[in-house]
């Protein structure tokens, strides 16, 4: 009885010490994120801008950001057959539901000829399959809550396979940057694995690689919240990862603040071989795993930005990026 009690007491006190240590390291919890950042800095009225990929794309373009080229939009079931004519001049393209959640319903076509469509994996599908996929997207099969949706067709990005070869398995790696009041505060790359089935979704088993804001170099890597050093499928040493075009990428991320007016958000970007960094998606409720990937808490950086005096003229994206690169540098721990 006494030993049971003392072990219970030891467990509770270990919980308290963990909590204290996390607090000391500035790790942000879900309650803190919701109460102190999202509800305070993200006006609800701005959410539709980021929850709809088509709207995000349009405002991003208006602000001069690079986005994958829009081939067309299919809004009604009656227009579904228009797809074949639409993509005639494009060799490869992507079909996305505008309000698809968690990467659902994204169909990638790498080549097509006379009604025969080929996926990147080499699998061949018919024009009927493509039509049914669009029809499902319009019916809301992929949108959260099953709301009616529109299908966005855009040019397939040519992802930078020189810089990233071996870091991702069967999927395009994307870069998530947390932007707070226009300042990039933390970044990571999400690399798909065999377990995650080509998806860059961390809780499905994708590898999260924390990136040093100063250099774009890998700081730390985790899979399923556990630190790793090599990519589980390709065996590539993750510490060798360096994101090229780092300044341009961070400036693009920072400019999302001007686009949306959301104070606390996650910007998801990809690097195109020819066009450089592109905005794929914006997120008003970015997750907290980025802290685990970086081995660092978000709070010290967020509070650093909160403490900044507001000048009469708000700093330009380039100035904000320079500030972030200077203040939020990290030591590689791989």
């Amino acid at each position: 009885m006494a030993s049971w009690l003392s072990s219970a007491a030891a467990f509770v006190s270990s919980l308290f010490s963990t909590s204290r240590q996390l607090n000391l390291n500035g790790v942000m919890g879900m309650n803190k994120r919701n109460g102190a950042y999202i509800s305070r800095y993200n006006p609800r009225s701005k959410y539709p801008l980021v929850d709809d990929k088509l709207k995000t794309k349009i405002i991003a373009q208006q602000h001069g950001a690079t986005v994958p080229i829009l081939i067309g939009v299919i809004e009604h079931q009656a227009e579904v057959k228009r797809i074949h004519k639409l993509v005639q001049k494009w060799q490869s393209f992507v079909i996305k539901p505008a309000r698809g959640s968690g990467g659902k319903g994204i169909l990638v076509i790498s080549a097509h000829n006379n009604g025969v469509y080929e996926k990147p994996s080499g699998q061949v599908i018919t024009s009927k399959d493509v039509e049914r996929h669009i029809s499902n997207a319009l019916a809301g099969l992929f949108s959260l809550g099953g709301k009616n949706d529109v299908a966005v067709i855009e040019n397939l990005i040519k992802f930078d396979d020189v810089a990233f070869s071996g870091f991702s398995f069967e999927g395009v790696p994307d870069i998530r940057v947390i932007v707070f009041k226009g300042y990039p505060v933390m970044a990571m790359m999400r690399c798909s694995t065999a377990v995650s089935e080509g998806k860059a979704n961390l809780h499905q088993g994708a590898v999260g690689v924390g990136l040093d804001l100063a250099t774009g170099k890998a700081v730390r890597a985790v899979q399923f919240n556990q630190p790793i050093t090599h990519h589980p499928d390709t065996g590539r040493l993750l510490s060798e990862l360096v994101v090229p075009n780092w300044q341009a990428l961070l400036e693009l991320a920072a400019s999302a603040w001007e686009m949306t007016g959301l104070g606390y958000m996650g910007t998801d970007m990809v690097l195109d071989k020819d066009e450089g960094p592109m905005v794929l998606e914006l997120n008003a409720r970015p997750g907290l795993t980025i802290q685990i990937a970086n081995g660092e808490g978000l709070l010290p950086r967020l509070q650093n930005i909160e403490r900044l005096a507001t000048p009469i003229k708000y700093p330009e994206p380039a100035e904000r990026v320079a500030y972030a690169r200077q203040h939020f540098a990290a030591q590689p721990r791989l």
Binding site: L15, T18, S19, Q21, L22, N23, N25, V27, G29, M30, N31, K32, G35, A36, R40, Y41, S101, G102, K104, S135, N136, A139, G140, L141, L144, G145, G146, K147, N148, K181, H203, Q204, V222, N225, Q226, P227, G263, Q291, I292, G295, E296, G297, E306, R307, L308, A309, T310
Partner: protein, 513 residues
């Protein structure tokens, strides 16, 4: 701290003042209830008071109406504390005869639907005397022997003979008769019950054996019941008192939760000048000191009455459940904000817990798993058809109703009466749960479904345990102040921005120096 213009951090002071205010109001109201009304802090059996309300409904045909209604009196186990009647426009008088009490309402002219209320309060009192009619011996010294048709004669003789052999006095004789009547294999009993109800058959058999008996109307006391009707039972004269028997049951010792409402042996309700009359009962148990029962009555008229006990009993019984919902909400808030457990749908666990209260825990959990499991299979097929959301949900609702009917019928035919309570599950809620779980399954995989479904079920069980806890039931219903305290606690938790318990594990790797 300097801030972005337009995004000012509001001062937290008013918030904490509000919480303090709520706490003060809550505590003050509770203390007043305890001090002035004498409601004890903990539930206790010995000081229980039953409030019973009879609701008489009939249609007046126009012209004078006279309603005579048998009302109960103190009896073994129960002391009459208070009674009152409400009846707009009617004159009311009580007629006390040697053997019965009746309330009589009268009006010169009434037309259309009429509702009369009679409210009475009984103190549970094991020392209560057998008063008045319970001790009045039967009027007739010699009972007329009932006559039976040729079909029944043999059966009556056989039944009486066997009961007589196995009994020593009137009480044991009656018990033996009831046993035979409840024996499904007894041919003689079956013959009698073809033409008579159990009560009628028993009365005739007792008269045949020259034993004085009478039919009384009783109500079964169960806390929070509404729309109950009166149940006929038999009283038998033995020695110097009447003994109550339930003809439906062989067990005679479980009769301490029945109150004899009408032992006049005349009629429960007579309506002159009306038709379609009916009586229904609502009842509720309260814990209160006998002294304060009188004190409370005196205070209720003059003081501002802060309790829901001034409402009609039917509404009060409803509030008994409603007042438990905030406790469920509190637990959900606790589980989500402080522990960080995922539940599917924010307050779905509360509704499931309310259903568990009706079904009991184990049949409830089994029923829930059966319905949701089968529903998921059906929903899996529906998703292949690519239907629109509204049509899909509607189809799932119908599927859930069919599943519930099938399980009810199967369990009934298997002799499992617990299966019948499955109908208490809120069908619309279940359909949404199935829909949400199904989408979750497609998007995140089976593991996430198990995680969230398990979380919801765990939360529901916790809430069920809280809702069925007698102390919590007692506090929430008797002390309205407790609601303010719960509200304050919920608001306070909404202000918590620290780590959730499960986040300590999630971020464990970040906790190293």
């Amino acid at each position: 701290m300097p801030h972005e213009p337009g995004i000012n951090e509001p001062s937290r002071l008013p918030f904490y003042v509000l919480i303090l205010l709520l706490l003060i109001i809550g505590v003050a109201l509770s203390v007043i209830r305890n001090q002035d009304y004498g409601v004890p802090w903990t539930p206790s059996e010995s000081r229980q008071v039953w409030d019973i309300e009879a609701r008489i409904e009939f249609t007046a045909v126009g012209g004078p109406v006279k309603v005579s209604f048998a009302v109960p009196n103190s009896q073994a186990g129960f002391t009459l504390v208070d009674n009152s009647a409400s009846s707009a426009g009617y004159g009311l008088s009580y007629l006390n005869s040697r053997s019965s009490r009746r309330a009589q309402w009268s009006i010169r002219d009434a037309r259309g639907a009429q509702t009369l209320y009679y409210k009475t309060q009984f103190l549970v009192d094991q020392y209560a005397q057998q008063k008045l009619s319970t001790a009045i011996p039967p009027l007739l010294q010699n009972l007329p022997t009932p006559t039976f048709g040729p079909a029944h004669k043999g059966a009556v003789a056989a039944l009486s003979e066997q009961a007589l052999k196995r009994s020593a006095d009137n009480v044991t004789f009656t018990r033996e008769l009831i046993k035979q009547l409840n024996d499904l294999d007894n041919q003689n009993a079956a013959l009698m019950l073809n033409d008579f109800s159990k009560v009628e058959a028993l009365t005739k058999l007792l008269a045949y054996a020259k034993i004085h008996s009478k039919t009384v109307g009783v109500i079964e006391l169960e806390d929070g019941r509404r729309r109950q009707s009166i149940i006929p039972m038999i009283e038998v004269w033995e020695g110097d008192a009447w003994h109550l028997f339930n003809p439906e049951s062989n067990e005679q010792n479980a009769l301490n939760n029945v109150l004899v409402w009408d032992d006049s042996n005349v009629s429960l309700l007579d309506v002159i000048g009306g038709k379609n009359s009916k009586v229904s009962y609502s009842m509720i148990a309260q814990d209160i000191t006998p002294i304060s029962a009188t004190k409370k009555k005196a205070a209720a008229d003059s003081l501002l009455n802060f309790s829901i006990h001034s409402l009609p009993l039917e509404e009060q019984a409803m509030f008994k459940t409603i007042m438990l919902i905030p406790i469920g909400a509190l637990i959900v808030v606790f589980i989500r904000i402080l522990i960080g457990l995922k539940t599917s749908g924010t307050f779905m666990p509360v509704l499931i817990a309310v259903a568990f209260v009706q079904t009991q825990l184990l049949p409830g959990i089994i029923g829930f798993l059966l319905i949701v499991g089968t529903g998921l299979v059906i929903r899996g097929y529906l998703s292949k058809l690519n239907l629109l959301l509204v049509a899909r949900i509607s189809a799932v609702i119908i599927a859930v109703i069919l599943i519930i009917s099938v399980f009810t019928i199967v369990s009934f035919n298997m002799g499992l009466t617990q299966g019948l309570t499955i109908t208490f599950f809120p069908m619309i809620i279940l359909s949404w749960t199935i829909e949400r779980m199904s989408i979750l399954w497609e998007e995140e995989g089976a593991k996430e479904v198990l995680l969230q479904g398990g979380g919801s079920l765990f939360a529901a069980v916790l809430i069920y345990l809280a809702m069925t806890n007698p102390s919590i039931q007692h506090i929430t219903f008797n002390f309205i102040g407790s609601q303010f305290i719960v509200l304050a606690a919920i608001l306070l938790m909404g202000n918590y921005t620290g780590y959730r318990l499960l986040e300590l594990k999630r971020f464990k790797s970040l906790a190293e120096g």
